[in-house]
């Protein structure tokens, strides 16, 4: 059980960042990376609910082979909304902008990010992009899918494509700014003694994610700009009637979008490394390999985008090249999973909620990764491309992997962020419900995929009916599972016991300041002398009596 201790003497000296100014202005014009992280937390939670309702509506619609709830026109707008909101307004900002913003300065022993004003600007740019997307949705929404394939998106669609595309164009700058801020901070503002190979692996994963954010998002910007030019100004870049090539759009789009899926999953992997070591009280197995695998994923992620276009008419030879590279990109992920497994060896494992979520992550992410191999093999992709097999694959990685890691991070750092401890048993029940609901929702979709049910189909032939009903039941359980944390976490805000500085007795500089930390993070910048994840030192008897001597 996590320990709740009386407030340590240093607590009274420094007001926590939460109580340091309570006016609305102190929140909306803050330059404190912790408050900006909370601003992002509220925004992406609302967007998660919006995207989630769209998903629930779609699953209800798929209960019957013929549309009964919504027309196919509305269904097309629903899956576009679900795709756009979930990808750009929940998955990409979730861990980097909330936990990255909050924890990066704390983990490297800095007082704030390198450019605090730019950090606040990134939140306003994010909300401006979101406002444009919401305007497009309220006016009727786009019906092009989150992929915006031309020539449908540029000439034939009558939805609000330009409003949606410019909303994402603006939100893209918020990602670029966040990535730039993190890279500069990690390079220039580490605490004395904190060499690169003493950094927590969460910082390594944030660093690799920032590289992808900075180098991939500009290509999304130019792609969306070209669609808007083609749709508004009639400038025919991808228009086949003027000799243009629709596949060129797919090359530009997927050059951004495949690295973008690594932006979504890499921070999750960083969270897993933190939690696996903390709850098995052991140094991670093969630190350098796990650190370098994050960088390898960031680099190789840029070489594989062609595997989205195997059946699109791309030449056979480039299909072969992309298939081979896609197999290589799975190696670093495999290294990570194997190292996490090896970290459990000879540990002292405690099954608190964060670890339950992480065990769920490792299980579901492994299945997601292995089905990715199936899709990377050319002959199988011919059969499985654009079917529910692909939907199941990327939901296993995004929902089974990334969202599980997000909830694990939420529970693991909740005492540090809010200074309160959440009730343990309801949290464990929620974790198990989410795991069961998830599998019931998405495993049937693998079978649907191999049976040949294409994606984005409100009508479907009757032989797919039974598995779709199972999937919808699973979605109901999953939806319920996601609501539970909202209840008991809010409950813990008011009635939860007070958290000590280091409730999990974890390593890492963020646990050496008070929780919630003061606005300037540390009384004095700590000097790092030990290696990362040195749990032998933390659990050793000599530290226990030194701490007793301190209080």
């Amino acid at each position: 059980m996590i320990t709740s201790a009386p407030p340590s003497p240093r607590e009274r000296l420094q007001p926590s960042y939460l109580s340091d100014g309570t006016t609305l202005g102190s929140w909306l014009f803050t330059r404190d990376h912790k408050r900006i992280a909370l601003l992002y937390l509220f925004s992406i939670t609302t967007f998660f609910l919006v995207g989630g309702t769209a998903a629930i509506l779609m699953r209800l619609e798929l209960l019957s082979p013929t549309p009964y709830l919504v027309t196919s026109e509305t269904y097309n707008r629903l899956f576009t909304l679900h795709g756009v909101i979930m990808v750009w307004f929940f998955l990409i900002p979730a861990i980097p902008n909330v936990f990255g913003n909050f924890l990066l300065p704390l983990m490297i022993g800095a007082r704030d990010l390198a450019f605090p004003r730019l950090n606040l600007a990134s939140w306003y740019i994010f909300m401006a992009g979101a406002a444009l997307v919401l305007y497009s949705i309220l006016e009727g929404g786009a019906d092009t899918g989150w992929t915006f394939y031309t020539p449908y998106s540029s000439t034939y669609s009558n939805g609000y494509v330009v409003a949606m595309a410019s909303g994402i164009f603006i939100a893209g700058f918020s990602t670029i700014i966040t990535g730039l801020n993190f890279i500069v901070t990690i390079h220039t503002m580490r605490a004395p003694g904190l060499r690169w190979f003493r950094l927590p692996l969460f910082v390594w994963s944030l660093y690799s994610t920032s590289i992808i954010m900075v180098l991939a998002t500009p290509v999304l910007a130019i792609t969306l700009l070209l669609i808007c030019l083609e749709r508004l100004g009639g400038i025919p870049i991808f228009n086949p009637n003027f000799g243009g090539d629709p596949l060129l759009f797919q090359h530009l789009f997927w050059f951004y979008s495949h690295p973008a899926v690594y932006i979504m999953i890499l921070p999750g992997m960083g969270v897993v490394s933190e939690i696996v070591t903390c709850f098995s009280r052991r140094r991670i197995f093969g630190y350098t390999f796990v650190a370098y695998s994050s960088l390898a994923i960031a680099f190789l992620g840029f070489l594989v985008w062609g595997h989205h276009m195997f059946v699109s008419g791309q030449s056979i030879y480039s299909g072969m090249i992309f298939s081979l590279l896609s197999f290589l990109v799975s190696i670093p992920s495999a290294v990570k999973v194997f190292n996490w497994t090896a970290t459990f060896y000879q540990g002292r494992i405690r099954f608190d909620t964060p670890l339950l979520y992480i065990l769920g992550f490792i299980g579901l992410f492994t299945i997601g990764g292995l089905t990715g191999l199936v899709l990377a093999s050319l002959a199988l992709d011919i059969h499985l491309h654009d079917t529910y097999f692909v939907i199941a694959h990327f939901h296993y990685i995004m929902v089974g992997g990334m969202v599980m890691a997000y909830f694990a991070a939420l529970h693991f750092w909740w005492p540090k962020i809010t200074g309160k401890i959440y009730p343990e048993w309801p949290a464990r029940i929620a974790a198990v419900t989410i795991f069961i609901g998830f599998n019931l929702t998405f495993f049937p979709q693998f079978l649907l995929g191999y049976m040949g049910m294409p994606r984005r189909y409100p009508y479907y032939p009757p032989e797919f009916h039974f598995l779709n009903v199972c999937s919808t039941c699973g979605a109901a359980v999953l939806g319920l599972g996601y609501l539970l944390p909202a209840l008991y976490l809010t409950y813990s805000l008011f009635f939860g016991p007070k958290a000590s500085d280091n409730p999990w007795r974890a390593t890492g500089l963020e646990w050496q300041t008070t929780s919630p930390p003061p606005t300037r993070n540390f009384l004095e910048i700590p000097v790092v002398t030990r290696e990362a994840y040195d749990y032998d030192y933390i659990d050793s008897p000599l530290l226990a009596d030194k701490e007793a001597h301190d209080d």
Binding site: F351, L370, L378, D386
Partner: protein
Amino acid sequence: MNWLPFPPEASSYSGRVDTIFFSLLALCFVVALGVFGLILFFCVRYREGSSAPRSAKRPHSAPIEVTWMVIPMIIFLVVFVFAGKEYAYMYSPPSTGTEIDVVGKQWMWKMLHADGQREIDQLHIPINQDIIITLTSEDVIHSFYIPAFRIKHDAVPGSYSRFWFRAVKAGTYHIFCAQYCGMNHSQMIGEVVAMAPNDYAKWEEQGHPASDMVQSGETLFHQVGCSGCHAPTATIHAPLLEGLYGKPVALQDGTIVTADRQYLRDSILLPNKQIAAGFAPVMPTYQGQLTEEQVNELVAYIISMRNAQTPVEQRNTAP
């Protein structure tokens, strides 16, 4: 493998695709079992408070890391080669076979048999014969997908895609549109009816095929004015089309291209894309005046003249 609710193995290579799939699935199952089993074992054995020995704390061992990088790489190479070979086999049609033109149009599939027979959302084919599909689209990107044959290819407007299959089991199978193409994307469903040869022959007669594609191509050739320049008797200096199909053509910028279907289609719709050497780029574009079927018919007519040896052969090679 039909006890699973998976689609029947109705084409010649669907069996091979299934074997690749199930062997890769078995491999993945072994890996997943290994990882989950190990985690479960460690979680039980090394849970907090258990008395398991915890002495050797070797947090790092490079050899293990290298092995579980190299072994997957080797396995992946093997899988890549098998799947890649099959992919190339499916997407490079044999030289001879029953040619069928499929045109995707917003929310229907239009099939055009060689003998001029037209079908909408229906495709009757004989089994045990190589069927070569030439696929294009008139508006947005569609994707011609027959799960039972394990074949799928995007119909991209503005270019021809060619692939092939050979039905081995008679029956009626779905044709889906797999690439999102607008409001009724999910209703763009057709049917492939694979029939035994004699049933197919019976269907063919009573199907009273409209005028032969080559004949309608010929009538069109005169109707829209191609014969004005390209007929042997024409006075205007234009490339002769007799014996053109399949032969190399010298272009103005010195490169040599073979006169395949794409070249013929581009010369009709985008005449200035590749100008034949020694000819002025005066040909008007027919873009927008001809539907895809009419272009197909003209191309079929030109192809039908590929071995017509007319005395004017040498005129083609004028300087």
